[in-house]
Amino acid sequence: MLKVDQLNLYYGAIHALHDISFHVNEGEIVTLIGANGAGKTSILYALSGLIPCKSGEIAFDGQDIRKVPAHQLVTLGLVQVPEGRRVFSRMTVMENLEMGAFTRKDRQEVDRDFYMVFDHFPRLKERRRQAAGTLSGGEQQMLAMGRALMARPKLMMMDEPSMGLSPILVQEIFAIIRGINADGTTVLLVEQNANMALSIAHRAYVLETGDIVKDGPASALLQDEDVKKAYLGT
């Protein structure tokens, strides 16, 4: 579904991503794990067309999307839940969800999808008239995910959904990610919380300062000595 080949990205003179190659198959949960500054967010921003890359190829559903403007990628089904939630804090919960469906024309289906989102996140339903800026961190994360779901993504990319959340809430969020995947959405999950990410993913890539240094089935990486030492704290 997604194939990234030899991607290079620079911030001025800083070479942030070196020849990054990976792929995501339809129906999978794939996780990219790595420490602070490894380049995880940069990869997702490049995929969403928000930062230009110097070289490399990005194919989504067989189509070369490197030159496609950011705002058109949503229509193709490539949707991102960005790092730090980035909900529209002055809009209500309901309006945020509407923004997620901005490009869709099928009004009736959109109305039905509100219920689908509220099924996944009952807490959002109670707060649907509230300004998003007044939600708690966990609720904002749920809103950011709900907003992305409203776009009916084929591939949903999530950047550190566990950031700043309590362990219980992290469990809850990851259970929902699994549910979303079970409902047929492919997931690319970027995480520092390697333990959680590897426990729900099918496959994983390990990113270190702009390089992919390891990849394999998530269960294998959970047993990998280097990964254990560097990311699992065991």
Binding site: T75, V79, Q80, R86, F88, R90, M91, M99, F102
Partner: protein
């Protein structure tokens, strides 16, 4: 009492015009964080457009109004495309200086084409004043207040409910997140400039009816006042611009009537300074950023 009511109505009259212009400053600021110093000069562009269309082509008033609005929109959109868009990711001071440059360019072009000699505004509405109670209210005054109020309500509804309005709000909060929703940021910015300049176009007609002299610097003073109105109300906040405009108009006309016409500008700036001392973000400004 009659004097007071008359001044109140005069204040609402000019205030409505300031508010219409202030909306352009505030909407553009809200979305690109730029003080578009050329915005006042759009008024002048509109006024000369009316002069040219009437004296050279002899078109009737309603047609001229529509064309004035279109020309103002066209200027605003072109200015954004040519002067501001290339600087969008440069330091903010660059676009600020560019805005001042565009303003000077427009004024000097007008000077070159139309000479400094003022021209009369080509229309006046010869409709007898309305008398309500003991008050005589000029038709232009009524028209200005009614049209401005209607436009402001329309704008509020547009921003709150329409698809374009929602994309404007999204872009003004977060460029990247807006793009992740599939919003075309460029289109949204163009649209914002277009709306602001359409309001300025209508403002230029109303201003011309009230102050029927057209000169290259016509836009400077109302532009400055409207900018102050926008800051007073809270720059970037649409109802703030409306409120700020009305307060400016009222303060100006009441000072002229009761204190001294020389002091009206001083009072206006005084209000601004006092408000900003107590509430730096303006009357309706948000005090701090929401938690993220």
């Amino acid at each position: 009492m009659t004097l007071f009511l008359n001044q109140l109505i005069n204040g609402l009259h000019v205030g409505s015009i300031y508010a219409l212009i202030a909306l352009g400053y505030t909407m553009v600021y809200g979305i690109v964080r730029l003080i578009n110093f050329a915005h006042g000069d759009i008024l002048m562009v509109g006024a000369y457009t009316a002069v040219v269309l009437t004296t050279m082509l002899g078109l009737p008033f309603p047609v001229v109004v529509v064309l004035v609005i279109l020309v103002c929109v066209l200027f605003g959109v072109l200015i954004e495309r040519i002067a501001y868009k290339p600087l969008r990711s440069s330091p903010r001071i660059s676009s600020l200086i560019t805005a001042i440059g565009v303003s000077m360019l427009l004024q000097n072009l007008a000077l070159l084409i139309f000479t400094p000699t003022p021209k009369p505004y080509p229309f006046s509405l010869n409709i007898p004043p309305l008398s309500i109670g003991g008050l005589q209210i000029g038709f232009t005054t009524v028209l200005t207040i009614v049209v401005s109020a209607a436009l402001m309500i329309l704008l509020q509804v547009l921003v709150a409910k329409s698809r374009a309005g929602k994309s404007m709000r999204a872009v003004s909060e977060d460029y990247d997140a807006a793009q992740l929703m599939g919003i075309n940021v460029n289109t949204t910015i163009t649209f914002t400039f277009a709306i602001g300049c359409a309001l300025a176009g209508i403002g230029s007609v109303l201003y011309g009816l009230a102050y029927p002299t057209v000169s290259p610097t016509l836009g400077s003073l109302p532009g400055l006042k409207a900018f102050i109105a926008a800051v007073l109300g809270g720059i970037g906040i649409i109802p703030g611009a409306m409120l700020g405009g009305l307060i400016m108009g009222l303060a100006e006309s009441l000072t002229k009537a009761y204190i001294s016409s020389r002091l009206s500008d001083a009072v206006v700036y005084g209000i601004l300074i006092v408000v900003l001392l107590f509430k730096p973000s303006g009357l309706l400004g948000r005090r701090t950023r929401e938690k993220v």
